[in-house]
């Protein structure tokens, strides 16, 4: 085909791309990128596991929070901790860094469907979350006092995986709202205190009462309470309220994120 022909025949098949292949490759390389980055993979996967081994399995051996064994209780809350970390750092911080690099701009200029970028990041976050939960389950079942029926195990995994939605929405918000250098700091400043106040490291009832009042405003509190409900070890809040809080929180985050994505357009000039 000569160039002149190539120019005149703008037939539809010229624009037909292999969309499933784009999504598959985008996700695969997103995963590869993350797996090769020890500064992400180690804290995201190993910190929850380390904390759990130390505070849950080792110090918690033979102890209980109320009627629930410490290792069993903390499996639910460190699971939540792990899922939140994967979302904030895997999705949020990586998104901010790529915006800073200009990798995002280059992709926006390319024919890549915008959704492919976000689907890939979401899938990787889902996978990372599943791995964190898997590691904790193995530790808890092998070395802790965790003795769950397959039904409880499946239910717990399912509830913890639900956290992918609100916290990735929050991750995108950080990724699009924060600068590439401040994003890791912002994520940590939110992540660690929120985890503490929400009762992810120790039962919420053990915290001073003013912190318990703060906890009710935190998404991580409502999320972990849902997980603890599986064990009947929650603080007694209503499932509907927890779900409603997380739903509204997700919608707000997504709405702001979309506005930020559009604002990004007009930001750079030269």
């Amino acid at each position: 085909m000569t160039t002149a022909e190539a120019v005149t025949t703008v037939t539809p098949q010229r624009t037909t791309r292999n969309l499933p292949r784009i999504y598959a490759l985008e996700s695969f390389y997103e995963l590869l990128k993350v797996v090769r980055l020890p500064t992400f993979i180690l804290p995201t996967l190993l910190f929850p596991a380390m904390f759990y081994l130390l505070f849950g399995v080792s110090f918690g051996s033979g102890k209980t929070f109320g009627d629930t064994g410490v290792a069993t209780y903390l499996l639910a809350t460190y699971g939540a901790f792990g899922v939140i970390g994967a979302a904030l750092f895997g999705f949020g911080v990586s998104c901010a860094i790529e915006r800073g690099q200009g990798w995002t701009l280059l992709k926006q200029a390319s024919p890549m469907p915008v959704s492919a970028y976000f689907v890939a990041k979401l899938l990787v976050s889902v996978l990372m979350s599943a791995i964190v939960i898997g590691i904790l389950l193995i530790l808890g079942l092998a070395f802790g006092d965790v003795a769950w029926q397959p039904g409880t195990l499946a239910k717990m995994t399912g509830v913890l995986m639900l956290g992918v939605i609100p916290f990735n929405a929050f991750g995108v918000l950080i990724g699009l709202g924060a600068g590439p250098n401040s994003a890791p700091a912002i994520a940590n400043i939110i992540y660690l205190p929120m985890a503490f106040v929400s009762g992810l490291w120790m039962p919420i009832q053990a915290l001073p009462s003013f912190l318990q009042q703060v906890a009710v405003t935190m998404p991580a509190y409502h999320y972990s309470q849902l997980a603890l409900k599986v064990l009947d070890a929650d603080a007694g809040g209503s499932t509907i309220i927890h779900l409603a809080y997380l739903g509204v929180f997700s919608v707000i985050c997504f709405t702001i994120a979309i506005a930020l994505w559009k604002r990004d357009e007009g930001k750079t000039f030269g």
Binding site: R14, E26, K33, R36, E98, Q101, L106, A109, S110
Partner: protein, 313 residues
């Protein structure tokens, strides 16, 4: 199907475009009702000083920015339309790509976005990346990184290629080898839009130069036509005449001594030479050089006459 001479259809058009950043008092006019047709099969350089609006123009054409007013078209469609976008490739001024992905992985990923990409080996060949194909991006040199960005721009075999400051920060040798790559792509009959700080680059590569300053098109023509817009010439010789003395002649715009040679900028070379020979009959090694692209550029972007010391810098 209606037969249209493809050469007549512009690849992309800016029609009466104004782009303003910010609002109210802090508003900046990046582009001020400019009109621009980029013809197919041509290499067009967009030149201009920093902040002239070059990158804004490119971002509008790529659909990365929305104009404040006016209309942008890309192959007859809206610029963000995938139908148009799969026919373009772009090299932008960006800091980097993910450090942990290998060269061939980055190329394979970007190739997947296009319906009819070039073969991987072919792309690595065009961009000169064979030796480093399995190296991760973070371990590449500055020149190699630029070549990866070039590879991502050309991998989809686009009809229109945007190169925004493609050789900024590269040394002379790397820059020249980069030009060879760009020429190989030009030889395929493609349309190229290039912005550059290096006037020599625009002169060496382009069919057409569009000069933008303060958001307006100041000049538009072939490199030869642009150069012809300035009448300034440089007269130089070895002489005992002091620069101060030479400056007394009204036609001398600037004079200075550089490595034992007296250098004079003037638009009346003949009169100045006659005057110099009168003052110093022993004058030797006389040279009169026509204005280059640099002189034309300076004259077109400055309201006052160009200062000679700028010209030889």
């Amino acid at each position: 199907m209606r037969k249209i001479n493809p050469a007549r259809l512009p690849a992309t058009t800016l029609h009466n475009i104004t782009k303003t950043y910010g609002r109210g008092k802090s508003a900046t006019h990046a582009l001020n009702s400019i009109n621009l047709d980029i013809r197919q099969g041509e290499v067009t350089s967009i030149l201009g000083p920093n902040g002239a609006g070059k990158t804004t123009a490119i971002k509008l054409m790529l659909g990365l920015l929305q104009p404040t007013s006016g209309e942008v078209s890309l192959f007859g469609s809206k610029p963000h339309d995938p139908v148009a976008r799969v026919r373009t490739g772009a090299m932008m001024q960006i800091a980097g790509l993910p450090d942990t992905l290998r060269v061939e992985e980055l190329v394979r990923l970007f190739s997947s976005y296009y319906p009819a990409p070039l073969a991987l080996d072919r792309i690595l060949d065009i961009a000169g990346l064979w030796e480093v194909r399995s190296r991760v991006f973070g371990k590449l040199s500055g020149g190699q990184k630029q070549r990866v960005m070039f590879a991502l721009a050309v991998c989809g075999d686009p009809d229109l290629l945007f190169l925004d400051e493609p050789t900024v920060g590269l040394d002379i040798e790397t820059r020249r080898s980069f030009w060879a790559q760009i020429r190989r792509f030009i030889a395929r009959g493609k349309t190229i839009i290039l912005t550059t700080h290096y006037l020599e680059e625009a002169d060496a590569l382009s069919d057409r130069i569009v000069l933008i300053d303060k958001g307006e098109v100041k000049a538009d023509g072939t490199p030869h036509e642009i150069k012809a817009t300035t009448s300034t010439r440089c007269v130089s010789c070895i002489t005992s005449i002091a620069a101060q003395t030479a400056l007394e002649h009204p036609a001398v715009q600037d004079a200075r001594v550089n490595r034992a040679r007296l250098e004079i900028a003037t638009s009346e070379a003949e009169a100045v030479v006659r005057h110099l020979l009168d003052l110093d009959p022993n004058l030797r090694d006389l040279e009169i050089v026509g204005a280059g692209i640099d002189e034309a550029f300076l004259q077109l972007t400055h309201d006052e006459a160009p200062n000679h010391s700028d010209l030889v810098s």
